[in-house]
Symmetry: C2
Subunit: 192 residues, 2 copies
DNA sequence: TAGTATACGGAGGCTCCCTCCACTTAGCAA
DNA sequence: TTGCTAAGTGGAGGGAGCCTCCGTATACTA
């Protein structure tokens, strides 16, 4: 990169308002469609967002970039739930709310597991970064509750993450079963 | 099914010679292409086999049927190696030859793991049947060697299968590393 | 308000998967 | 050997999806 280029990079104009709006619309549309079913086409995503196909490709040059963006956004949302819950709720409620949010996030991922795996393959950083972010979120919520004495301390947050995560990914459990099992797990975690 | 239909089914004419030949050619071509790289198109498979696209579709109505057929064939070949090795070689040599064949089979699968997963999803019987067939092959070779006193008996064949299988599927190990590690494993298994 | 960099949108190219059907041939019976 | 026919072949083309290109529109700046 030349000096001029690097200078231009740092004093770049901000994105135009319509571009920012469309980026957001596309992300929302894509997430909806991924959650609804299998493999929405790029055309379908653009249409749902109410923009042209060219605009979609301007924002996400390849299909896999859409998958990646939706996933990053989802991870961010779950992590944010953790942070807000710890601040705004009492420690046990925070565990309860976060775990349910986590399960619903993870169950949503089942829909496009194959595409996600491809994204991980293409870009290993995506996998490790998300893993870390989620791990941190679980740790924050669980350890806060442990310090408050409302969650048993003979389990680490990694173990709990592992248990809940693998339950959600299990092909033999339905979403409904997972929703019920998370209550069982929460019950087992709680100190009364 | 009517009586006539079931009667016809059992006394059906055998496949014509050209059909049998083309089926075999297609299977060979498909395996070659899958091993060579990623995602050969149906056109490419037909071309490599030297037949028209229509012929390919007569033998394998969907792309996934090609994947499935190649996989079944591969599993069969590895299992056959086990059976022949036990009959024709001394017990330790049989373990050695079979394990190397198994690793090379498993490494080949990395190429089209995604397609394979789809095939498993669509047809769970494929997965369980192959798993059983391979499990039996490992057991045959290992237990024969254990009875002959050349392989340690404090490990079960399932454990060995698990170890070698997961090594081959590990994304962080190259094929070359797996080839070297299998020798290390074999060394550890051997009773001298 | 005019000028311009930025962004939009969709026609169309390319590559796939798969279908359809006119043509060919292996195998059988006379 | 010959003729018949069910079985098999091959490839043009339909349809869908990913992505590119570029003429048009518009948000920002001065």
């Amino acid at each position: 990169m030349t000096i001029q280029e690097s200078a231009r990079t740092s004093e770049e104009r901000p994105q135009r308002a319509d571009a920012r709006r469309n980026h957001e619309l596309l992300l929302v549309a894509a997430r909806e469609l991924f959650e609804e079913g299998a493999d929405p086409s790029m055309e379908a995503i653009a249409k749902r967002a109410g923009v042209g196909i060219g605009t979609l490709y301007r924002h996400f040059p390849k299909r896999i970039d859409v998958v990646e963006a939706v996933y990053r956004d989802d991870v961010e949302q779950v992590a944010t739930v953790a942070e807000r819950a710890v601040l705004e709720l009492d420690p046990w409620e925070a565990v309860d709310v976060f775990m349910h949010a986590f399960v619903s996030y993870a169950l949503g991922k089942r829909r496009f597991l194959n595409e996600l795996r491809e994204a991980f393959e293409k870009n290993p950083e995506l996998k490790s970064a998300s893993r870390e972010r989620l791990d941190g979120a679980v740790r924050l919520v669980v350890e806060t509750a442990q310090r408050a004495g409302v969650v048993r301390t003979d389990l680490t947050s990694e173990e709990i993450y592992g248990l809940v995560g693998s339950m959600c990914m299990s092909a033999s459990l339905t979403a409904e079963q997972c929703e019920r099992l998370i209550d069982l797990i929460l019950d087992g975690l709680r100190v009364r």
